[in-house]
């Protein structure tokens, strides 16, 4: 049992639009997988199907030795798959600490309504866990800030910290660095990736920035028009000219014309 995730013949159609066509991927434990592709290539749909946010039209998804195809996201979360979102899903009217406490308290109750009714949300234990999680992701200084007031980078980190509160074994990050300035991107990814490695969490992340993918991924899946068109190490995949063209579009002619004038 070395594969944490195995996807077979996955397909998703929205009417005539195909968001996923015959995707088959096997991810071993502790591999960090970068998912690249142009907008609309099917990256987020892929993540959404694995996490139960979207029902696949065809194919199967196995997590460890369980078939999780088409299960609701809350069940999949309880099994050990967590995710972060391109637009962070945090509780904006609560403080940062209350956000993480909510996540740790839910993790403690195991998602059972009965035990949620009988356990207090603010307890010494959830507070300790919550504060530790904030410290781990380096956002403890914002603990009393209302989440609505946070800068984008901290929102992203809080979103990931909340996703990790349930001790997942597989984590999917949907564009963890989108909306963050170039200077902050690497700092954020350094924090996130080292913490996740330390916790022995397998990571799949969707990313547009090729430098980020090259630095943090062990393996790259390139998506185009709903299909995986390349699957290999970053060194091989990212330097493939065809992939470069499909992912970032053809090189602009105007740019080359300017240099060539002589």
């Amino acid at each position: 049992m070395s594969a944490i995730l195995s996807v077979r013949g996955l397909e998703k159609r929205f009417g005539s639009v195909v968001a996923a066509r015959d995707i088959s991927v096997t991810v071993p434990y502790l591999q960090t997988v970068g998912i690249i592709g142009a907008n609309g290539a099917g990256k987020t749909s892929f993540v959404n199907m694995i996490t139960g946010h979207l029902q696949p039209s065809k194919g199967s998804i196995w997590f460890e030795d369980r078939d999780i195809t088409g299960r609701p996201s809350r069940e999949i979360s309880r099994l050990g798959i967590a995710r972060s979102f391109q637009a962070p899903q945090i509780f904006t009217s609560l403080s940062v600490l209350d956000n993480i406490c909510a996540a740790t308290a839910i993790a403690r109750t195991g998602g059972r309504l009965m035990s949620q009714t009988l356990t207090p949300l603010q307890s010494a234990a959830t507070r300790t866990d919550g504060e530790a999680a904030l410290g781990l992701f380096g956002i403890a200084s914002c603990r009393d800030t209302r989440a609505a007031m946070l800068p984008q980078g901290v929102r992203k980190l809080l979103d990931i910290a909340m996703a990790v509160a349930g001790q997942p074994r597989l984590l999917l990050l949907d564009e963890p660095t989108s909306g963050i300035s170039m200077v902050e991107k690497f700092g954020l990814m350094d924090v996130v990736m080292s913490r996740l490695k330390h916790r022995r969490i397998t990571v799949l992340f969707v990313e547009h920035d090729m430098d980020i993918v090259g630095r943090y991924a062990d393996r790259v899946l390139a998506f185009h028009d709903g299909a995986v068109i390349a699957d290999g190490t970053p060194a091989v995949t990212l330097t493939n000219p065809r992939i470069q063209e499909l992912i970032s579009g053809p090189k602009l002619k105007a740019g080359t014309a300017d240099c060539d004038h002589a």
């Binding site: 809350r74 309880r78 979102f85 403080s95 308290a105 993790a107 309504l113 356990t119 603010q122 349930g166």
Partner: protein, 309 residues
């Protein structure tokens, strides 16, 4: 502190004029409904048909008393709580799937169905309703002034128990997640929480509270009629919820007492146009106290810094 207020109120009652006690009984019975609305309100849900459960509670005790002759207060209240809770559980399968205006309107529609049925049922007195026999307390049937006094203590006792239980609930994981439901249902689902399940639970709690409130109101007024299920009754509860604010459990009681007081003053001062008076009061509240009377406690408790709900 809350316990002290309840004890003082209970001790003072015999000294108070009867009209205040009667007014307080109705106000506190309605406060139980408002307490349930506060739970839903925190999750961003405003039911415009909570009178459905209020009427079920009221008709439950009235019908049981009429057809079985049972008059024991504890038994009747338990029956009302179970029946209204059951009704909330069943309607909850549908209601828990809806949000915002769709939720509000669906809840209104359900209450109006009950209203229609009650109006058309001759055996239940049609639009006139029917008389409810006063309850007995473990075999003791109070007479005269004692009846009012015991009624008040009963309502006060129910309110105290409900206030304590609801405070505990609001601090529990399930209760405290109401605010997160409003912020991001997606995050909750991905943390492993069934948001619909959570809302369903809140609906059952609120429905049960409304049923107990309705039963107590039926005892107090000694009469039930279909207007208890009418949408203006539901609207009144929403009014009091806005007046109270969703920040504190105690606000439900203060808000409800204030509402009944305002209404009786309005009746006195402007018999023909009391709605104008109440409407203006609501307008002022929304403009100057958007978080309700409850937000006044907060200002007293701690200086205005960041608020935590």
């Amino acid at each position: 502190m809350g316990a002290l207020v309840f004890l003082v109120a209970a001790a003072l009652t015999p000294a108070l004029p009867a009209w205040i006690v009667s007014l307080a009984i109705v106000a506190l019975a309605n406060a139980l409904v408002v307490l349930g609305l506060i739970i839903l309100w925190r999750a961003g849900l405003v039911p415009f048909g909570q009178a459905l459960f209020y009427a079920i509670g009221a008709y439950a005790v009235a019908l049981i008393a009429r057809y079985t002759g049972l008059r024991d207060v504890l038994l009747l209240l338990t029956a009302a709580a179970i029946l209204s809770g059951l009704a909330a559980f069943l309607t909850g399968f549908l209601l828990a799937r809806y949000r915002e205006i769709f939720f509000a309107m669906l809840s209104l529609a359900m209450s109006m169905i009950l209203y229609g049925v009650l109006v058309k049922t001759e055996t239940l007195g049609s639009t006139d309703g029917f008389h409810v026999a006063p309850p007995t307390y473990f075999g003791y049937a109070p007479q005269g002034g004692m009846r009012l006094l015991l009624m008040f203590w009963l309502v006060l006792g129910c309110c105290a128990v409900a206030a304590v239980l609801v405070s505990f609930y609001l601090r529990s994981v399930a209760g405290a997640l109401a605010v997160p439901v409003r912020d991001s249902e997606i995050r909750l689902e991905f943390l492993g929480v069934s948001v619909n399940g959570l809302i369903h639970l809140n609906l059952v709690i609120a429905g049960t509270l409304a049923g107990i409130g309705g039963a107590l109101a039926a005892f107090a007024i000694e009469h039930v009629d279909p207007s208890m299920a009418y949408w203006t009754t539901s609207g009144g509860f929403v009014f009091v919820t806005i007046l109270s604010g969703a920040g504190f459990v105690a606000a439900a009681f203060v808000g409800s007492l204030l509402f009944e007081l305002l209404r009786s003053i309005a009746y006195d001062v402007l018999p023909g146009a009391w709605q104008i008076f109440l409407g203006s009061a609501l307008l002022l509240i929304i403009l100057f106290l958007p978080e309700g009377v409850g937000s006044l406690f907060q200002r007293v408790r701690r200086p205005p810094s960041h608020s935590r709900s």
